[in-house]
């Protein structure tokens, strides 16, 4: 399958529908002004390991871009002391902040540049998009794991939108209360029976049950066995949310790695704590959001789509 076909397939799944240029771009942008010297652009590129520098006017509006090839030309012509204005490309291919993910991809395919400036309606530069940014956005869409950083606001919208519904009218609710591992899995067993009674297919029920079970085990292992397991199951979609009161996951990236665990030997003797819980959940869920932090509660929301099977 070619890259284009892969992207087409992914597009079909709607994975990138929420991504626009403003959510893909890097906002830590290094720009220069037209009156700066070419030598300054060369220094900036070397120090920041970037291959192109956007040029903005006094109002931060994009007026040009200077690339490595322009620097090389200027070097050959001995024009390093000249102003950026005299060597920059004025006809810049740029993106708007609200451009869709498809527009971004087609830009990369059409123009073969390594980077595109992103501007607001008024022409002000707000970010840059490189192929690395695009790749990061794709990976984030797959894993959708967000911790306490700026990316969080992106998904928190959808997460908190469901919060009220989970509080007031979840289709399934179970209070996890277990002193050891003995009762761990009771909630997931009940959830499974509930989902079967709702007429969901074997495969999606199995995936949701396995993930709920791993999350329930995590509450029992790491959060003193106190938490809740709730689900909203309608319109061919199962959303499972497992919450506890802490102590939280200090490093979510580490906890997503297979084999990484903070569980005790006693837990391991029971067949768990081998660092496969969250990786398993990631494997079997279609979308996954984890919100946690050191000394914070942990919320794990997993979405299972019947039509993906």
């Amino acid at each position: 399958m070619s890259l284009e076909q892969s992207v087409e397939a992914l597009r079909y799944l709607g994975l990138f529908s929420s991504l626009d240029a403003s959510s893909v771009m890097s906002t830590a942008v290094h720009a220069l002004h037209p009156e700066d010297r070419v030598a300054a652009a060369r220094t900036l590129m070397r120090e920041k390991s970037i291959s192109g520098v956007p040029i903005v006017d006094a109002d931060s509006r994009l007026v040009g871009i200077i690339s490595v090839s322009k620097i090389i030309e200027a070097l050959a012509d001995g024009r390093l002391a000249d102003s950026v204005d005299s060597v920059m490309t004025r006809d810049v291919v740029f993106l708007h902040a609200h451009d869709t993910f498809e527009t971004i991809l087609s830009c990369f395919q059409r123009f073969k540049f390594g980077r595109f400036p992103v501007v607001e309606e008024d022409g002000k530069l707000v970010g840059m998009i490189t192929d690395t940014d695009v790749l990061s956005a794709i990976i984030r869409s797959f894993y959708s794991v967000y911790v306490h950083d700026q990316r969080r606001t992106m998904t928190l919208g959808s997460f908190s939108a469901l919060s009220k519904e989970f509080e007031s009218s979840a289709d399934f609710a179970y209070d996890i209360s277990s002193t050891g591992l003995e009762n761990a899995g009771e909630g997931s067993a009940r959830l499974k029976a509930f989902l079967q009674s709702k007429g969901f297919g074997d495969s999606i029920v199995r995936r949701a049950s396995v993930c709920a079970y791993e999350a329930e085990i995590n509450v029992c292992i790491h959060a003193g066995g106190k938490g809740s397991l709730r689900a909203i199951a309608r319109n061919g979609e199962i959303i499972v949310r497992v919450e506890d009161e802490g102590p939280g996951i200090e490093n979510i990236d580490l906890s997503m790695k297979e084999g990484w665990s903070t569980a005790t030997d006693a837990i391991r003797e029971l067949g768990f704590g081998a660092g496969m819980g969250l990786p398993n959940i990631r494997l079997f869920s279609d979308h996954l959001v984890i919100i946690s932090g050191k000394d914070k509660s942990t919320k794990v929301e997993m979405i299972f789509l019947a039509d993906k099977e």
């Binding site: 761990a184 899995g185 997931s188 199995r206 995936r207 049950s209 791993e214 067949g271 768990f272």
Partner: protein
């Protein structure tokens, strides 16, 4: 392979679910690590394990595994037996160790 053949090949006894001996399993998975079992989502599989905790039943239940073969002739606690009964999971017990039970079943055609 029918569960009745599993019983015969490993000289096992049936603790729960004798009436289900005609059920077919097409694969087996041997592990004491339930998360590894959960990572392998294939319903028609026999779980072979040395553990006797309630979690072996829970794990089999979540994955729709029809049966568990407990190795090394360990006593299975009553609460685990009860859980197998309520969840409809066949529970077998053999005196063979996991390695030997797995080997016997493998050579008779039960694949991984």
């Amino acid at each position: 392979m029918k569960l009745s053949e599993v019983l015969e090949i490993t000289s096992a006894t049936c603790i729960v679910g004798e009436q289900l001996a005609s059920i077919e399993v097409n694969h087996a998975f041997a592990s004491d690590l339930m998360s590894d079992v959960l990572a392998m989502s294939r319903p028609d599989t026999l779980l072979i394990t040395g553990l006797t905790t309630p979690q072996i039943i829970r794990t089999a239940h979540m994955l729709d595994l029809p049966a568990i073969l407990v190795a090394r002739g360990k006593d299975v606690p009553q609460d685990v037996v009860d859980l197998a009964r309520t969840t409809g999971i066949v529970l077998l017990s053999t005196h063979d160790i996991v390695y030997v039970a797995s080997g016997k079943l493998y050579v008779r055609g039960l694949s991984g």
